[in-house]
Subunit: 307 residues, 2 copies
């Protein structure tokens, strides 16, 4: 095999009570990537369609992730990466993660899969480090593994995949505004009351129990975040309305995707997910801010090979 | 049915990363209670064997819990409660919870079970309120439901039962010293760093995943608490040695039971649980402090009716 075409999905990190530990994989939105073996050693990014992003290998998240992988193998050839971006950078649904995870997934396949999906996570994290300054795993892990992923620990890295209930859908609105990473970080309180820590662990536990037992109501009851959302949501226009209207329309729960500006709602079934998409759109139409809406089943497989 | 004899088990609350949200039910240690219908309305505590505890109904945790239940039913008779205490008060393995939960469980049965086990929790919590000043549920819930219990929320009360992996055992050492509740509370920090909150949620999530997937190693890796244990353990002589030796002997993990002084270890299989009991005993024999050791499978049923 000298060429591979893949679909590398968008992802939602944080998921309310799962701040910095949970992520999930989407299905209806993602980048297409074509990776080819080249005679020349090393990695080149030959083409990026749909977004203006750096083509220099060591300034591109896919390039950096690919190089991290190639450091661990001894081969006499290289790779060419072509990226068709559908996920907008800065949207909060794992744009950089899709590129980084896709690159290492594709190269690994072309090498005959010397690494497990779990083993690819640290390579993809190097791409995240380039993108945001921290080598976080909460988008690359669900992109690679599919379903929900829990990062139990970073030191050592310990990622656990959790299967998604079959009827679980996510509706995502991406308001096309830019939230500066510095602002998203600055609003977070660095000291939390013990009481809120307890509430957060209770909800995170409830959410995981709900996922294992297909208890949609429990998933909904657990989708709360008193630690980050109250502050970060201030940076997202109409966040409270989006959430209130989504819940009224039947969503199980709603929160900030990643560090925003995207806002997600989890829903039982496609029908409700679509209705939630409509009320989200209606809420945003009044603002004059451009937005995209994505409605997606939870992707249980992660990155897929396209024929 | 005019009389019921029950076994009301000891329980472990907190369980490392599950501070204030998790509890589990033991099997090899618990109180025996005999509850009889009486012609006279109200509740009397006729006999307590094994410990010196108040017989006045409204000063006894079993009495107070029973009265809370009886407020919700309209009956023309009353109950007599006899308690044979095997769980020492102040041991940190749910002595008051066993009495309170046992009382409401037994009375409910004698009434033809008008309440579900979940519905009995708030009544039993009234006993805990008398015992410790706060109506906590993390011992009464596992005593009533068995297995592991997660308190997702207190407001409203939302308790989720989690089944225990089949080979999971607990070894508990109860050093016979008194830790004053005021001291156990005073050492806890009321402000937690965001980083530690994230670590706690990651471990709590990992522990719950491990319970659902029977992944004993994951359970072990998740049994960490950076929030309370580092401070409360200072009140328990030789805590660090107990933990170190337990892990060396094969325990999956170890922590403080409730607010101490008991220390627990979770183990895969009875054989390892017994070895851990021996090394705990050996560690404590040098101290001159009296102690009990309990080795127990996780009790998946909770309170049991004795024939």
């Amino acid at each position: 095999m000298n060429l591979i075409k893949i679909f590398s999905p968008a992802t939602i990190a944080n998921i309310s009570c799962g701040f910095d530990v949970l992520g999930l994989c989407l299905d209806s939105i993602g980048d297409k990537m074509i990776i080819r073996k080249t005679k020349k050693k090393g990695v080149i990014i030959s083409k990026i369609v749909g977004q203006i992003l750096p083509l220099e290998t060591n300034k591109n998240v896919a390039g950096v992730a690919a190089l991290a992988l190639l450091k661990k193998v001894d081969i006499g050839f290289g790779f060419d990466i072509e990226i068709h971006k559908n996920i907008k950078p800065g949207s909060g649904i794992g744009s950089s993660a899709a590129s980084a995870a896709g690159a290492v997934f594709g190269i690994n396949k072309l090498l005959g899969a010397p690494f497990s999906l779990q083993e690819l996570i640290p390579f993809a994290m190097e791409g995240e480090k380039l993108a945001s300054g921290t080598a976080h795993a909460d988008n690359v892990a669900p992109a690679l593994l599919g379903g929900f992923t829990l990062i139990r620990s970073y030191n050592p890295l310990d990622v656990i995949k959790i299967e998604s209930p079959n009827e679980l859908y996510a509706t995502v609105i991406h308001p096309q505004i830019e939230i500066k990473t510095a602002d998203a970080r600055a609003v977070i309180k660095q000291k939390i009351s013990l009481q809120k820590t307890i509430i957060q662990t209770g909800n995170l536990g409830g959410l995981i129990c709900g996922l294992f037992t297909n208890d949609y109501n429990l998933i909904g009851r657990s989708l709360h975040d008193e630690i980050v959302e109250p502050y970060r949501s201030l940076l997202i226009p109409k966040f409270d309305n989006l959430k209130k209207e989504s819940l009224k329309a039947g969503a199980l729960g709603s929160g900030i995707s990643g560090s925003g500006p995207s806002v997600f709602a989890l829903c039982k079934g496609k029908k409700i997910a679509k209705i939630v998409g409509k009320v989200m759109a209606k809420t945003y139409e009044k603002t004059g801010i451009d937005f995209d809406i994505h409605i997606s089943k939870i992707n249980t497989k992660g990155i897929k090979i396209i024929q």
